[in-house]
């Protein structure tokens, strides 16, 4: 029996609660006697400084500060302390403050998710520096190697929730983090790093899938091809466009004279739910408000005549569901089977106890059954349903020869043949003269509920009560200064 198992058992039987005792440091400083010298001539002359009194006043102030710090620590642990959130938000754009507040308070456990949401909202708001830094911080965490990570180990434990782990996202979510960073690089005409981002998106999306089966995120192939074309790598571009066409025949390589790439995002992305007998399976379904599936773009200024009708390059519902499942599903299935076995054993033991014809045997059986039932109840097998709620359901792409600088987009969204009344939530253009990009978004990433979507409040509270998590979160809050 491991020490921790023994500890767990003892805790369940514990009858005493030890209240933490905190000794407060003495706050009353020795009374100071300051002597002042009264000027005998001009009343306006300043009294000479008494170094002893000054030193004692400084010591008193330091002790008071220590006392206040101890009081704050007692009430709020490692923070955040009152006023720190407001100080963080003070110089931030107002539109982004609700999401930034969630980011600040959410800690390292939800950092990637909250950084992604902030990054996308910042893109919509035209706050490029915040967007770039947010996605860079998210990607640093996505690329981090878990080494002796307590929360990762806890997530695999029978008695801890998967939601304990630091969120990195499902493969399609990680891919989208790279996708948005890639769009920002295209906007800045940094085509090599844009290509690197789209290739990394392909790599992330294909986790757990062998060879070419995982390379089915056609929009990422196409965007990598566009970045290569802009960087002057014709061969690499052709290869990526061919792969995109192989996955999605609607995508064709740009015309030789095309100088503009239009990327549009429609609808609401897939929704995560818990499936299986005990909620141990992570399942995906389409969002109930995912409506529009087509876009027509006209030039409101009348300069550019053709109507742009980008094709559907990728579906995020497809990317979320068309894979071989998660390794973590196997762990959770194992946990669910163990939980079911504990429950069954508990019931069997109690039933057997009822059949005993001696009181000792009956008592022993009932206690044993109750103990197993307690442990079954303590087992956590549910899948983690934290999710990036502001993702789109469709990525639409078109390339064109046009002067984007003069283009004033007038969008018409449709669900099949029917018009959908929507005003685009976000639009930007960028790139250089040879390679421009226009990005348009149907649904707002700013007007989303601020709370971390899909988070388990109980898990969040339990996690935040750990000293090591508090220290990690404090370091995380300090790192947000770069936003």
């Amino acid at each position: 029996m491991t020490k921790t198992t023994l500890r767990t058992g003892l805790c369940l039987l514990a009858l005493t609660v030890v209240a933490p005792l905190y000794a407060q440091s003495a706050t009353t400083a020795a009374a100071t006697t300051a002597t002042t010298t009264t000027a005998t001539t001009a009343p306006a002359a300043a009294a000479p400084v008494d170094p002893v009194a000054e030193r004692k006043a400084a010591e008193k102030a330091a002790k008071e500060a220590q006392r206040q710090q101890a009081e704050l620590r007692r009430k709020y642990g490692e923070g955040p302390y009152p006023g720190q959130v407001e100080a963080f938000l003070a110089n931030k754009p107002e539109k982004l403050r609700p999401l930034l507040s969630t980011l600040y308070l959410g800690g390292e456990r939800n950092a990637v998710l909250n950084l992604d949401r902030v990054g996308l909202a910042a893109m919509e708001a035209g706050e490029w520096t915040i967007a770039e830094h947010a996605f860079d911080m998210a990607l640093t965490r996505i690329e981090a190697v878990y080494k002796k990570n307590v929360q990762a180990e806890q997530a695999k434990s029978l008695f801890k929730n998967e939601a304990r782990k630091d969120f990195k996202g499902e493969p399609y979510e990680r891919a989208m983090s790279y996708y948005y960073r890639g769009l920002l690089y295209l906007r800045a005409a940094d085509f090599d790093n844009a290509r690197a981002s789209f290739l990394a998106a392909l790599f992330q999306d294909s986790i757990n899938m062998d060879g070419d089966r995982g390379q089915d995120f056609a929009s990422m192939n196409y965007l990598a091809g566009w970045a290569s074309r802009c960087a002057g790598d014709a061969g690499d571009a052709r290869e990526q466009f061919d792969r995109a066409t192989k996955t999605n025949a609607a995508l064709v390589a740009p015309a030789t004279d095309a100088n503009a790439l239009l990327v549009a995002e429609l609808g609401y992305g897939p929704v995560k739910t818990k499936g299986g007998a005990k909620g141990e399976l992570l399942e995906f379904k389409s969002h109930t408000l995912d409506v529009e599936n087509q876009l027509e773009l006209r030039d409101a200024s009348g300069t550019f005549q053709p109507v742009l009708k980008p094709v559907e390059a990728s579906s995020l519902v497809y990317q979320a569901t068309e894979r071989d499942g998660r390794k973590m599903d196997g762990v959770l299935k194992g946990k669910a089977q163990t939980k079911a076995a504990l429950e069954a054993s508990s019931q069997a033991m109690m039933q057997a106890a009822m059949m005993q014809n001696n009181s000792g045997g009956m008592l022993g059986g009932m206690l044993g059954g109750a103990m197993l039932g307690l442990f079954a109840g303590a087992a956590h097998v549910e899948a983690d349903t934290r999710q990036w709620d502001s993702l789109p359901s469709r990525i639409m792409i078109q390339t064109q020869k046009m002067d984007l600088a003069k283009f004033k987009p007038a969008a018409q969204f449709r669900k099949d043949a029917d018009a959908v009344n929507l005003t685009p939530a976000g639009y930007f253009t960028g790139g250089n003269d040879r390679c421009k990009i226009a990005w348009l978004r149907a649904r707002s990433a700013i007007d989303m509920p601020a709370a971390t979507p899909g988070d388990d409040a109980g898990v969040a509270k339990a996690s935040a009560s750990r000293k090591d998590v508090q220290l990690k979160d404090k370091a995380f809050r300090d790192s947000l200064a770069q936003l």
């Binding site: 029996m1 491991t2 921790t4 198992t5 767990t8 058992g9 981090a144 190697v145 878990y146 080494k147 002796k148 990570n149 307590v150 990762a152 180990e153 997530a155 695999k156 434990s157 029978l158 008695f159 998967e162 782990k165 960073r181 690089y185 090599d192 790093n193 290509r195 690197a196 981002s197 290739l199 990394a200 392909l202 790599f203 986790i207 757990n208 899938m209 062998d210 960087a231 790598d233 998660r326 390794k327 973590m328 762990v331 076995a341 504990l342 057997a352 106890a353 005993q356 000792g360 045997g361 008592l363 022993g364 059986g365 206690l367 044993g368 103990m371 197993l372 442990f375 090591d468 220290l471």
Partner: protein
Amino acid sequence: MTIRQFGLLAAVTIAALAATPAMAGTKRIEGVQDLDPDSKADNDGVGIASRDIAAISDAIVRDLLNYPEVIDRPLPPRVIIQASDLRNMTMQRFQRDMLTDALRSQLNRSARGKLRFISRESAEVVEQERAMKQDGFVSAGTTDPNRMRSGADYRMVGKITSIDTRNVGTGTQQRFTQIMFELVDLTTGDIVWTGEPYKFKRATDMDIVDQ
């Protein structure tokens, strides 16, 4: 069942089923800690790390400064080294300036005048200053303001490439990275020097929670 038997059964069952792993953690850094940029760090991944920057620069400097065709010319050749000529073909986002700046700095210091470097990135500001001098808006400075802007003899070009593989069964990710530099004669297009490719292969395991 006796109470003793119950206790044994419950203890064995719980011990067998409750897989609570050891809660080992890494040593935390208190405050800010200075690290050696040229040494391996815990957070290094499978791609280019800070220690590679110095190693690549060292290797190129040693090689190029022993290449008489370039280094032993009667007049020091003029060389352009800039980030836009270093192509990143990998899936690792990378600030190319880190490598080209380190390389130019080390070459300039080590060459001791046997190489001269031209900053094309500063062309715009140079042009502005020349125009102000010629217009009489500012003084001529301490050098002859009528000198021509320097033409370059060579351009350092480079490429970063990689091969990424992944073992679906074990979650192991491997990356082989190669970094190549060459010196191109800007008059003839000849490649006058090719550096030894800097290569490394790194691997890491993805935890099940990440897969």
